[in-house]
Structure formats: C-alpha cells, structure tokens
C-alpha cells in the first residue's frame, strides 16, 4: 500500500503561508450584508408600529373617543361615535378559536400519519395535495365558506344560523391553515431522532404508543411553533372572514351569529369612500394597533403554555 504524499507537488499548489494578519474583504462584506438584511426586518416592524401608533394617537386625541371606552366598550358604531373594540375583538377571537380547533388536531394527525405511518407512495401522493391546499387564494376559500359550507351548516342548524356566520368562516379558515400546521409539525416530527423510536419499539411499544407517547411529545416545541404561526395566521386572516362572516359589528362569541372581525372591518371601511383624517379613518389605525397587540399577546400566551408543557420533559 502506497500512502506517501508527493510533498513537493502538494506544497507548490498553495500560496506560501505567512503568519501575518490578512484583510479578508469578502468576509467583512458578507457580514455587513447579512447584518443589514437582519436589521431590515426589525426596521420594518418598528416602522409599522410607529406609523400605526402615530395615526392611532390622532384617533385617541379626538374629543369623540376615549381610550377607556375603546378598551372597555362592546359597541362599535362609528356613525354615532361608539368605538368599543371588543365588538371586533370578539369576532376575531371566535373565528380564530374555531380555526385552531379545526387545524391543530387535524394538522398534527396528518403530520403524524405522514411522518410515522405513511409508506413512501402514500406520502408522495398526500403531501402535494396538502401543499395545493396551501396555494389556494384566500378569497376562493371565502366563497367556498359562503357558498358551500354555509348552506350545509344551514341545513344542520336550520334558521338558528345566518347566511353570514362565524362558524363557517372559522371552519374554512381552519382548513386554510391546516397545511401550514401539518407541514411544520411534520418537520418537527421528522427531526425526532430515530434512536428514540427504536428505544420505544425495543421496549415492546406498538407503533401508536411510540408515535403518540414518545415521538409527538419529543417534537412538542416544533409543534408548538406551528400552532403559534397558525394562530397568527388565523388572527390576521382577512378575506375569508370578510366574505363569509358578515359585516355586523356585534359583540358576540356565538359562532352561529354574524360578526365582523378586526381585519374584515379594516378591509371593508378602507375600501369605502372614507375622508382622510376623519375619526372613522383614524380608527382603522387604532384597530390595526389592537390587532398587532392581540397577535402579540396570543403568541406570548402560547409560548408560555408550551414552555409549561415542556417543563416536565426538560
């Protein structure tokens, strides 16, 4: 066996090594570019908050409104100067809750199936279908809710449910975020090391026991992240609720009723002929700021729940 290296050839191919510090221009350049890209996202976020806050301030400075009324009242009737955000928040929370209740169990189940059970062939068929779901425009989902799901619901609930209702919008919104949750959860499940599955099987676990009691708990932080993204998506979703859940800004948590979410309200009002700098116009920014806050709070709550849940494992 000949393992000797032709030393002269090898050393000739390199530049001569000096120990002096070199200037590596491209390293510095890359670092600067990466920093700027990273900073851009922070900059945009801060910019949004400033714009929203600035305009919202105009709204709260208006003699017609008070901050206390805005945060406590449940009546939103701009025409007579009633600006109680809870009328809109209630609809946002209700539709989002329905969506999450649909998307999380289905999404995590689908992910568990794809990651733990599905054969290569089943996967190669199912995954693209789920991805198609993610590619459907939300306005199509909106009309799907209004023209397909609502009639079915009306045949079930008779006249207790309106043409516009939060249940239909929430259900369809759940279907919309299902692929998001399932694909993120599947990534988390696939990242669980095989050695844990083997450990479970080697102790006489069935596939179900190994999947549900070892693999899924191990992937909990990733699944939690999926749920958080799903919640943000549901809270921010506009088109489905604008089309299917109605335009009555009533304070209600009854999913059979019509109610307008924060996003749908913004979309509807800003689409109309609203005079610049009127109270109505400025109220949009206050709603947007509130939407921002609701998303933030829900994210923080979910993160806290997940960390509580994880504590028994770490």
């Amino acid at each position: 066996m000949d393992v000797s290296v032709n030393k002269s050839l090898a050393s000739n191919s390199f530049r001569p090594a000096t120990l002096k510090r070199k200037r590596r221009l491209n390293e510095g350049l890359i670092e600067t570019i990466l920093f700027m890209v990273g900073f851009l996202t922070i900059f945009v976020t801060v910019g949004i908050v400033i714009v929203l806050g600035d305009q919202a301030l105009l709204f709260f400075n208006d003699p017609e409104v008070t901050l206390v009324e805005f945060l406590t009242s449940t009546k939103w009737v701009p025409a007579i100067g009633e600006f109680g955000i809870w009328a809109l928040v209630s609809a946002t929370l209700t539709t989002s809750a329905i969506a999450i209740l649909v998307a999380v169990p289905l999404g995590v189940s689908a992910a568990t199936y794809l990651s733990e059970y599905a054969s290569l062939r089943a996967r190669s068929v199912l995954k693209p279908i789920l991805e198609v779901l993610a590619g459907i425009p939300t306005v199509v989902y909106g009309y799907f809710a209004l023209l397909f799901v609502t009639p079915i619901l009306r045949s079930v609930f008779d006249n207790r449910i309106g043409v516009y209702n939060m249940l239909s919008a929430g259900l369809v919104m759940g279907i919309m975020i299902l692929p998001l949750i399932s694909s993120m959860s599947e990534d988390a499940l696939s990242a669980v090391p095989n050695s844990l599955r083997e450990a479970a099987y080697a102790m006489g676990a069935t596939k179900l026991e190994a999947s549900l009691q070892v693999v899924v708990p191990s992937a909990l932080s990733g699944i939690g992240a999926a749920v958080i993204v799903g919640i943000s998506r549901a809270v921010g979703e506009t088109m489905i609720v604008a089309v299917a859940s109605g335009a009555t800004s009533d304070f209600t948590f009854n999913p059979l009723k019509a109610a307008e979410t924060m996003t749908a309200h913004i979309a509807r009002i800003s689409g109309g002929d609203l005079s610049y700098n009127s109270v109505d116009y400025n109220s949009l920014f206050a709603i947007a700021l509130m939407l921002f806050l609701v998303t933030l709070v829900l994210n923080l709550i979910s993160q806290w729940v997940i960390s509580k849940f994880r504590e028994q494992y770490e």
């Binding site: 050695s195 844990l196 006489g204 191990s218």
Partner: protein, 260 residues
C-alpha cells in the same frame, strides 16, 4: 416426534438475513446459553448488529429485510406467522450504542415501558428496584423528576439498562453499549453486566476485544465471505478458548490485532 426441551435462550438454525437481494448474514447456527454473556465480535460491516437486531425483530422496520431459517427462543420460532413482534421485543430487551433515554423524567423513562406493557403493581417500587439493579439508584434518587438528559452519558446508558430490566425481559441485547462512554463508565457497565447475568441472558456486540474477553462467557466470531460480502459466524466457543487458542486462523489474526 419428541417435544424439544428448550435448553438454550436463543438458538438459530441456518439463519440468513437479507436486505432486498443482498444476503447480509449467511447460514448462522448459534446456541446461546441461558444466563450467560455471549459476545459477538468481528470487523466492521460483517453483520454483527444485523444479527443482533434479528433476535428482537428490530430488522422488521427495514422494509426490505427478510429472514430465512429459524430463530428459536426457548424453543419457539420467533419468525413463525403467529408470533407478534411487539411481544417478542417485550421479552427480548435491547440497549443501544448511543444512550437514548426518552425526553422524559428519569422516573418516567422507566415507568413508561412498564405502563405500556400493562404493569399494574406499585410503580414507585418498580422504578426504585430497576434503578437499584442498574446501579444507578444512589446517584439519581433525589432527582427522579428531573429530565433524563441532565444525566451524564454513562448514567444515561445505565438508565437505559434500568428501563429495559423494568419490563422484565428474558434476554437483553446490547449493541456496543459502552462504545460511546469513557473508560470508567465502561467499567461500571461491565460490572453491571456481571450482576445482570444472574437473572438475564445477555448478548453483546462489541468492537472492543478486551471487553469481549473481560465480560463474556462465550464468543461468536463473525467474518465476511470474500466473494459475496455476506457475514457469517466462523467460530463460536468459550471466550477463553477464542482468545487463547482459537481453531480458526482468521479468528487468531483478528483477536491478536493483526487485521480488522
């Protein structure tokens, strides 16, 4: 025909293991004695782990794997149609190369296996007994609710042994259980094996020849067929004999470090 009196923990008859068309292990006949430690040694890639994983049907998870011949546990063929692989794995436990505790508490690492196998007795007692038998109790008794990941590698491996013995298998398979551990942890595992063999039959795959010589009662030497690249057992005997006067020249070369 007389019913066979099963005198061996595991007996293989003309066992061949395939991955697709490739015959990874060829014609293995082994008789593994009860309550002894049997080591399987041999160069890398000669099918030691494949053979070991055939005993508790872990190879079932490789979709293309297939077995010819028989593996008898106490006289029952583990590959006959009416055998449930899940039950086989309950009776034949396994400890892996890298410690792989569950991301659960130390307590739950042990309790989980017992629970899924229908344990109805006093769980606290079982956990303590298993940890004592794995020589880990004194080190962890005050932090049973802590994550298993807080333990050192050697402690984690003993925890894996503890959870394996908690479900009271008959046989424990060990796939290079100490290769990821430092010498002191390795020594503790080896001492533990000597304790465990009073109650269990142990089969260990190891790359470490000194370890095989130290811990095992019997040794199976595996080697590849040059032409087909299939692994087989070329010699199976008392460990003493394998390491002092092996009958096969290749075994002698291997255990004296002349190749492999």
């Amino acid at each position: 025909m007389q019913p066979e009196i099963p005198q061996y923990a595991i007996e293989t008859r003309d066992l061949s293991i395939y991955y697709g068309p490739f015959e990874a292990v060829k014609n293995v006949d082994l008789k593994i004695e009860k309550q002894k430690i049997t080591a399987i040694i041999g160069p890398s890639g000669c099918g030691k782990s494949t053979l070991l994983r055939a005993f508790n049907r872990m190879n079932d998870f490789v979709p293309t794997s297939r077995v010819d011949g028989e593996i008898l546990m106490h006289g029952t063929n583990l590959y006959s149609k009416d055998i449930d692989p899940v039950e086989v794995r309950r009776k034949i436990g396994m400890v892996f190369q890298k410690p792989n505790p569950f991301p659960k508490s130390i307590y739950d690492n042990i309790a989980w296996g017992a629970r899924i196998n229908g344990f109805k007795g006093n769980m606290d007692e079982l956990v303590e007994q298993s940890l004592r038998n794995a020589a880990l109790w004194e080190e962890v008794k005050d932090k049973l609710k802590k994550s298993a990941y807080e333990l050192s590698g050697g402690q984690q491996q003993r925890l894996c042994i503890a959870r394996t013995i908690a479900i009271q298998p008959d046989i424990i398979l060990m796939d290079e259980p100490a290769s990821a551990l430092d010498p002191i942890s390795t020594l503790r595992i080896e001492e533990l094996m000597q304790e465990l063999k009073k109650n269990y039959t142990i089969i260990i795959v190891t790359h470490n020849m000194q370890q095989a010589a130290r811990v095992s009662d019997y040794t199976a030497m595996m080697m590849l067929y040059e032409d087909t690249r299939s692994g087989t057992v070329i010699e199976f005997d008392d460990t003493k004999k394998i390491f002092t006067r092996p009958s096969d020249k290749r075994t002698e070369d291997y255990v004296t470090g002349r190749f492999g």
